[in-house]
Amino acid sequence: MSFFASKNTKLNTRGLKFDSVGLVTGLVLLIILPALVKSNNYILQVFTHALLLANLALAWNILGVSGSISLGHAAFFGAGAYCSAVLSLEYGLSSWLTIPLAGLLAAGLGLIMNLICLRLRGAYFALATLAFVEIPRVITDNWDELTHGSLGLVSLPGLPSLSLGTWSVDFSASIMASYYFVFAFSLVLLGLVRFLFNSNLGLAFQAIREEEIAAEAVGISANRYRLLSLLLSAFFTGVSGACYAHLVRYIEPGLVYGLHFSAIPMIFAICGGRFTILGPAMAALIIYPLDQFVFHPLLPAGHEFLYGVVLILTVLFLPAGFWGSLRKIF
């Protein structure tokens, strides 16, 4: 189903209404969550991570919408995490500065990925991106003076603090503050993704996904728009990685460049609905807490099987993703 907004159809109006209802409900729940759970630290921590993963899924889907399935977003995530960590730890820069710089570094990496994978499509592109992760990982692993290699970096500075006049808030002071920091990032990203997909750029991304040759024949430079979606996707993945570094305050190459951070956004995007705006974020906010609260206690060693099962079930029975399918019904 097309996620693209149009004002004058029954089908789409229903989908849009459903989107608005879902969006407002979700936002209200997320805003009052700390009050609901009486600031239970564990629950808040899980939802902070769920929001971070939601951002990752939203960022991944900027590329996903234009038709490319990436299995290499851990490259951007890890590079972003390391960039922000090294700059703030070694050079003492404020994380207000290092987080966007991490996004820029990731986008630069996206540029390199684009040069390598320019002519690849579909499964070949996916496999090349999977291999691509090795490039920044090996560099990080071996650049000991800067990154301490596989030892990782510990006691990183926390999330930044914000002061306006007399009022100030330190986002690393409490779990609730961190939660709201990541939540604010989610809002910005979601707003941007909505704007992108509802603008004419959304038309171009969809057109090159659906039929590249025809898209070029109507004046769309497929390479240029694919690059644009990759750069945006990489930038926000890098920013997510930087947030992760300052949130967890400990990183090592095997962790931040791990397959986990490549696969997770893809799983959430596909389960939620690759052609919807909200789906990927919704999936992250439902599946990750489900995993942590229900499956992790039951099966501490193998709880991640949940992701595999959910992915297989979605692909088999709800190819439009659960949000995409719900939109069609309501």
Binding site: A207, V218, G219, F275
Partner: protein
């Protein structure tokens, strides 16, 4: 006024010649039919003009400007648009958004969807007769509707020259009649047309001139009634000797 000029255009694939030394000119407002049997090089010529393929040698001039080697999207922006032999809709987008894409990207680019673009897209759907399907997904259209969509999307880019690849292939006589009406309507909008027409069911009725190809070479050009009596053309299509030769 000359719209398109092909100068000694050749294309070889791995040493095998697909087109050789094609010289041809299309004038403003004309409808030209490109005919020839299978493998004559009709689609290759289309792909060269629309920028999908680079010619091996020769030049393509559009309104006097050398556009040889231009990329498809750049060719489109200059004013050449095309349809495809088997239509290529943006399947999971609505019919309206298919046309809107052409409208938005065919010439300049604006970030926001302008109401006049949407208006124009609706009008074009009306021109090709599928306005009632505006909100249907392109994948759910019938084959004939998808061809109409292809045409509407190509028109949406506001072309000066439109290349139609087998628009009426496989059409019933009724549909062919509709297609003829449609093509005349397109011409009234001031668009010059080059039509690939393998089965000749369209071009004989609408074309001002025909360009006949066989084995990558130009074998004839001229008005339809004369071309259809040309012995080279008859030989290419029917594979038999020209009746007059029997008497020699």
């Amino acid at each position: 006024m000359t719209v398109l000029q092909l100068q000694e255009l050749s294309k070889t694939f791995n040493g095998i010649s697909a087109l050789s030394n094609i010289d041809f000119t299309i004038n403003e407002g004309e409808i030209v039919g490109l005919v020839g049997p299978n493998g004559a090089g009709k689609t290759t010529l289309f792909n060269l003009i629309s920028g999908r393929l680079r010619p091996s040698t020769g030049k393509i001039l559009f309104e006097g400007k050398d556009i040889t080697g231009f990329k498809p999207h750049a060719v489109c922006k200059l004013g050449i648009s095309r349809t495809f032999q088997s239509s290529r809709p943006f399947s999971r987008m609505s019919t309206l958004h298919n046309v809107l894409t052409g409208q938005v990207f065919g010439k300049g680019f604006s970030l926001h969807i302008r109401p006049e673009d949407e208006q124009m897209a609706h009008e074009l759907l009306d021109v090709v007769g599928i306005a009632h399907k505006a909100e249907t997904l392109a994948a759910d259209l019938t084959l004939s509707e998808q061809r109409r969509l292809d045409l509407a999307r190509a028109l949406a880019t506001r072309p000066k020259l439109l290349l139609l690849d087998e628009v009426a292939a496989g059409f019933s006589p009724v549909l062919v009649k509709q297609a003829i009406k449609l093509i005349n309507r397109v011409r009234e909008r001031g668009v010059t047309l080059l039509i690939v027409d393998h089965f000749l069911n369209l071009s004989l009725k609408v074309a001002d001139r025909l360009l006949a190809l066989d084995h990558g070479e130009k074998i004839a050009e001229g008005p339809p009634n004369i071309i259809m009596r040309n012995r080279e053309v008859l030989r290419a299509y029917l594979g038999m000797r020209y009746p007059d030769e029997e008497d020699d």
